[in-house]
């Protein structure tokens, strides 16, 4: 088992209407001091065994991300370490 996470975000210069709508809503929840919100996709893949980095890159390029408007980063997560402290 190997876990791969592909994070896909709109390129910085591309309009992110979602992020904007959320940013505009924050004050109503009493949250201030937020200068930018960007919303992308997190894609978690489980492989039977660790894949070739190149395979994953190609996958991201051709299917998971839309290189015309999106950037992505690939991270190979070892099963121990969690992606962030769970809430």
């Amino acid at each position: 088992m190997a876990r791969v996470v592909v994070d896909v975000m709109l390129k910085p210069e591309i309009l992110d209407p979602q992020g904007q709508a959320v940013a505009n809503a924050l004050p109503r929840l009493g949250v201030t001091g937020v200068t930018s919100v960007r919303i992308g996709r997190r894609i978690e893949l489980e492989f039977t065994e660790p894949p070739e980095p190149e395979t994953v890159r190609q996958l991201a390029d051709r299917l998971l991300a839309n290189p015309v408007i999106e950037d992505y980063t690939v991270s190979f997560v070892s099963d121990e370490e969690p992606a962030g402290e769970p809430a």
Partner: protein, 225 residues
Amino acid sequence: MRIGVVTFPGSLDDVDAARAVRLAGGEAVSLWHADDQLYGVDAIILPGGFSYGDYLRCGAIARFAPVMESVMAAAAAGAPVLGICNGFQVLCEAHLLPGALTRNQHLHFRARDQRLQVETNRTAWTMGYTPGQEIVIPLKSGEGRYVADTATLDELERSGRVVARYVDDNPNGSMRDIAAICNEAGNVVGMMPHPEHAVDPLTGPSTDGLTVFTSVLKHLAGVAA
């Protein structure tokens, strides 16, 4: 009877809901998302559309609109509240109804004339139907797949709170073919298909939807009497 129709930024079927109320013989009162009161309306409709662009999650941002405070209070006090499509999503996000509406299983927005079975007339918005009655009204949504955990689903079934189900084929993968549900009291109903688009033979597939609006007027008359 005065029925309020809330307009959020991005609401689209608000004009249609208001028209349906008028055709049913009620008075439609338009409510603005920023209002801090309900101007004494007897019932409230959260219409279809793409409030706040459906960004983040459908209904997630609208749920925090100022007017929702009053709507939640009115719902708790027993006022009839109907959420249609996006309105249903808002009601779930606001936890006035259990469960959630997620992306259609086939991943496409789907607009079609949908056959439904009305399961119960023990709600303010369906009392004019006979249980088991089949109706055809438009469905148009990309995130109409109702989901909830098994316990919740069983509870909905047990307490007769599944208001309508899809018949023939399930258009979005909705659990237990659920098209509409209500709260315990039956005054708050969420419905994915659009009854307000089946009120005039000229523009709809049927007039089956009109009963939703005559029902609430009848209910209110009963309450008043």
